[in-house]
């Protein structure tokens, strides 16, 4: 074994009907989550609501989408069945997204605040600064 040139991998058992059952179950979960998301998206359009409630609903939709991503990667892409070190080499680099999202949305928001502060006309115009953006 030690002198073998050939790469050795151990295959998973093919699995029978329980695999298909798991696939069907995941399909139903993904569909139900999507329907809930759509319902919330439409509710924001159909009923007038406070900005805070709207923001809360958007937050829930983001969390539901992350849940969908978890099911797609874990079940459909079988990442959950790989060995732990492999999973970590995929997941750990993705943690960069936490900074990536926070920093850049903060930057965008700051841009808006500065523009509205120093160019009061901007609050009443869609095209602040001549509609460049």
């Amino acid at each position: 074994m030690e002198h073998s040139v050939q790469e050795v991998t151990f295959h998973h058992e093919p699995g029978g009907n329980e695999v298909v059952k798991k696939i069907i179950k995941t399909t139903i979960i993904l569909s139900v989550i999507t329907i809930i998301e759509l319902g919330m998206g439409l509710a924001m359009y159909a009923f007038p609501m406070a900005a805070g409630l709207k923001l809360f609903l958007k937050g829930v939709i983001v969390i539901l989408s992350l849940l969908k991503a978890f099911y797609i990667v874990g079940v459909f892409m079988h990442l959950g069945e790989e060995i732990k070190t492999l999973i970590m080499t995929i997941i750990v680099p993705l943690l960069l997204f936490i900074w990536f999202i926070a920093a850049f949305l903060w930057d965008g928001s700051s841009w808006k605040v500065l523009r509205n502060t120093y160019n009061p006309k901007a609050t009443t115009e869609v095209h602040a600064e001549g509609g460049k953006y």
Binding site: I72, E82, V126
Partner: protein, 241 residues
């Protein structure tokens, strides 16, 4: 007995080289899509006004001017979810060395991919060719959504003779980001369909049967599921919130 993965002679991650590299490619691709979507988020957070997706995406083929917010994009989302399911069934058939099963489910996956692309072609055409009366520099103009024009601004204080409200133009970045990011995703779907067709032909020719395993179907499957995964976030950022 506990397996010593790093003692040599074994693949420490217990996956074939190509499959591992597919995972790392997908991780890097996730950052590419992430960068695009975050850039869109930055610009959107910097604006005082952004169009409501329920208003922009309310058309359905053959439904005329009926107001059906998000109906068509929901259909597209379900088409992609179903094609992801048929793909995972093809991978499952491959695990069992079931050639006929792989062929059947690959055909359904390819049909799903083509259906999604057709829907997207219709949606783009509808947005670009759209004819919306908007107030531009005091003049009423009829424009569609492009990378340089956005008819989805706030309502102007005037109404047309039929009582229809005239709008103003919205943030220009809307079209660029929408067509850029859904286009980049659509290009991934297109290449996924091409890869799947290649895999189908190879399966039919018995290439994987002779090889003794259907690992190539697994790798194509990973790519296809990633396309579905990205759509979850495109759908979230452009249509839901």
């Amino acid at each position: 007995m506990e397996t010593k993965w790093w003692s040599g002679g074994k693949s420490p991650f217990n996956v074939e080289y190509g499959k591992l590299m597919m995972w790392y490619f997908l991780m890097s691709d996730a950052f590419t899509f992430g960068a695009f979507l975050i850039s869109y988020g930055t610009i959107r957070f910097s604006q005082n006004y952004w169009p409501d997706p329920n208003v922009v995406f309310n058309a359905f083929p053959f439904a005329g001017h009926a107001n059906l917010p998000l109906a068509f994009v929901s259909l597209m989302t379900f088409i992609l979810i179903v094609s992801s399911v048929t793909m995972v069934l093809a991978v499952h058939a491959g695990h069992k060395n079931d050639k006929a099963g792989v062929i059947k489910w690959m055909i359904w996956t390819i049909i799903g991919g083509i259906a999604f692309l057709s829907c997207q072609a219709w949606e783009w055409t509808h947005l670009i060719m759209g004819d919306h009366a908007v107030l531009v520099n005091g003049q009423i103009e009829h424009i569609g959504t492009t990378v340089t024009r956005n008819p989805w601004g706030p309502a102007a204080n005037i109404a047309a003779h039929d009582g229809h409200h005239i709008g103003t133009t919205g943030p220009v970045a809307f079209g660029g980001y929408f067509f850029g990011i859904t286009g980049f995703h659509g290009f991934h779907v297109l290449s996924g369909v091409v890869i799947n067709i290649a895999m189908l032909i190879m399966t039919m020719n018995g290439v994987f049967e002779r090889r003794g395993h259907y690992l190539m179907i697994e790798k194509a499957g990973l790519y296809w599921h990633f396309v579905d995964l990205v759509w979850v976030f495109v759908f979230l950022c452009f249509y839901l919130i």
